[in-house]
């Protein structure tokens, strides 16, 4: 039986209440919008890319606790990483939140992102957690339509 306490852990709530890197980057070299039309979660992601590295990152937006906490955690986990490292973390995160119940996941790449592992028990909320990551990918890939989880 899924327990919502697994979802709304203290650290998740902390990131919801005090999101990290919650700011506009004035000198951003990349920017992308993410929108989840189902629940109205919206964010704008700002990146500064130096060479191949995400040297700074920020986001603004509004949404549910999961989308906000996940955005905050995402920015912390990819800051200072190369594009390919960020993509690897995304893959690991994606597997963690969409895995079948009772199966393991590789936590090597994940660090603090692991606190969102309980989301796999709430399929309806996976989109909330993954929006920031789709937006990141969209920002890294360059200008295009807003990222969406639909």
């Amino acid at each position: 039986m899924p327990d919502f306490q697994d979802l709304y852990q203290d650290m998740v709530m902390d990131h919801n209440n005090r999101p990290r890197n919650f700011r506009v980057l004035e000198d951003a070299s990349r920017q992308a919008d993410g929108y989840n039309p189902l629940c109205g979660d919206r964010l704008t992601l700002y990146l500064r890319i130096e060479g191949d590295v995400i040297s700074d990152i920020g986001f603004k937006g509004s949404g549910c606790a999961i989308s906000k906490a996940s955005s905050s955690l995402m920015t912390e986990s990819v800051k200072g990483k190369s594009k390919s490292e960020a993509e690897k973390i995304f893959q690991a995160f994606h597997h963690m939140v969409t895995r079948a119940p009772g199966t393991d996941f590789d936590d090597e790449e994940l660090g603090d992102l692991e606190i969102l592992s309980g989301i796999s028990q709430f399929p309806a909320r996976v989109k909330c957690a993954i929006l920031a990551w789709h937006t990141l990918r969209s920002a890294l890939e360059g200008p295009q339509d807003p990222a969406t989880t639909e």
């Binding site: 039986m1 899924p2 327990d3 919502f4 979802l7 709304y8 709530m13 039309p37 189902l38 629940c39 109205g40 979660d41 919206r42 509004s62 949404g63 549910c64 606790a65 999961i66 989308s67 709430f122 309806a124 909320r125 909330c128």
Partner: protein
């Protein structure tokens, strides 16, 4: 049951007359005994879809077990039986809406398809460049998009009746919108996201004063209050079977016979024709002209059973009971600190849309679900309503006659838990 005697049939009507007995009604709905995450299901998502009484489930099963056959073409026993049942259901819908003729009842997949039928058939025939269609600010996407598509195709304009902060239409503004270019008015009877009951009788009268026909979206009203198409004098009305305790995939369009008569077919195929040659096809008469292909026979008969069921309970009694629930729910929810009801019209159906300070509706939905409470969180297919109120989404508890005050109490307790988690 035959077409000649399509009345209450084998439906239990033991709940009428006398005082309304909700416990007894609940016995008729097997799903209400479900445990969700180990807790009793509290189903408060009735505006999305309603649960089905046993008589509807039994009717579907009996149809497929004992009567399954195609309609309108067989000369064998089963086909005649299925045709009688299918047409019997049409008569039930006609009586339920108090239409004057079975020919005015067209079976469709649901309210959405009914609106699309009118847009594509009546709309394409009668609406041209520069013409205007009036809808309201609280329409479901299904009563916006089909008209937008039509407007785009024909070069027509969509005009929108605004509403106030309580979610009531501004009738003065409506009056101003009605003009020589207005060719159709299409408005929702009860708003699915706000609960507002719109003054459709007045809306229709005002349009008719200018010779403009009116479509009423009855998806949320037909299941919850008596709706009389002749009294309203609406030109079209649509509703969905699954919201009135019937199966999914079936609904009905009511249209005045003279209007339907003059309209071109919606889809082509079998059953909607009288004769076909490669040179020329002669269309069938009403209502078959609009029912191409093998229809949803089981769903239609199931819808008939659902109508028998609600008629047996008594629409006036269930309406009075649902009003009592709404009043209780409004009062309980209003007393929660930090909760704001969205949709506070004086005339309301059993919908409680709300937002909580600092908590996104999706988080409310997840935590309530863990308590076994089913509500809806989101924009409810009314994104312009959300925009009007400056919110991304609401949490919505919507009631039916099988809900109880104890379930409202469980909802309030659940919301308290949400507040605790987010404090």
């Amino acid at each position: 049951m035959t077409a000649a005697d399509p009345g209450a049939g084998n439906v239990s009507v033991g709940n009428a007359p006398g005082p309304y007995d909700v416990a007894r009604t609940r016995e008729d709905f097997p799903i209400l005994k479900t445990l969700v995450h180990g807790k009793p299901l509290v189903y408060l998502d009735n505006a999305a879809t309603s649960q089905k009484p046993r008589t509807v489930l039994d009717t579907l099963s009996r149809y497929y077990t004992e009567e399954n056959s195609n309609v309108h073409r067989g000369i064998h026993y089963l086909s005649e039986l299925a045709t009688q049942e299918y047409e019997g259901a049409r008569s039930k819908v006609r009586r339920f809406l108090n239409a004057s003729d079975d020919r005015e009842i067209v079976f469709v997949r649901g309210a959405t398809e009914g609106i699309n039928l009118v847009a594509q058939s009546y709309g394409r025939q009668n609406i041209g460049e520069g013409d205007e269609i009036i809808i309201s600010a609280m329409e479901h996407h299904s009563n916006i998009v089909p008209w937008q598509m039509l407007c785009q195709e024909r070069g027509a304009q969509l005009r929108v009746i605004p509403m106030n902060d309580d979610g009531e239409l501004l009738m003065d503004e409506y009056e101003k919108l009605l003009g020589p270019k207005t060719k159709l008015v299409s408005v929702v009877h009860i708003s699915n996201s706000l609960g507002t009951i719109n003054p459709v009788e007045q809306i229709i009268q005002m349009a008719h004063g200018r010779g403009v026909p009116v479509l009423i979206d009855g998806a949320q009203s037909v299941p919850h209050m008596p709706v009389d198409v002749r009294k309203l004098d609406c030109d079209f009305l649509v509703f969905s079977g699954h919201k009135i305790y019937g199966p999914t995939g079936i609904g009905a369009l009511y249209g005045k016979a003279d209007l339907l008569e003059a309209m071109p077919p919606f889809q082509g195929g079998g059953d909607m024709i009288k004769s076909v040659t490669f040179e020329k096809t002669i269309y069938n008469s009403l209502p078959y002209k609009f029912e191409a292909g093998t229809p949803n026979i089981a769903g239609t008969i199931g819808l008939g059973a659902a109508i028998d069921y609600v008629t047996g309970l008594g629409m006036d009694r269930t309406l009075a009971y649902e009003r009592e629930l709404l009043e209780y729910g409004t009062q309980r929810l209003s007393s929660i600190n930090g909760l704001r009801l969205v949709g506070t019209a004086r005339q309301k159906g059993g919908v409680l849309s709300f937002v909580l300070d600092g908590v996104h509706p999706h988080d409310i939905g997840t935590i309530l679900d863990s308590e076994g409470i089913a509500i809806r969180a989101g924009h409810h297919c009314t994104q312009p309503v959300m925009e009007r109120f400056g919110i991304p989404a609401t949490a919505r508890a919507s009631m039916a006659f099988y809900n109880t005050k104890e379930e409202i109490d469980a909802l309030v307790k659940g919301i308290d838990k949400v507040i605790e988690v987010f404090s």
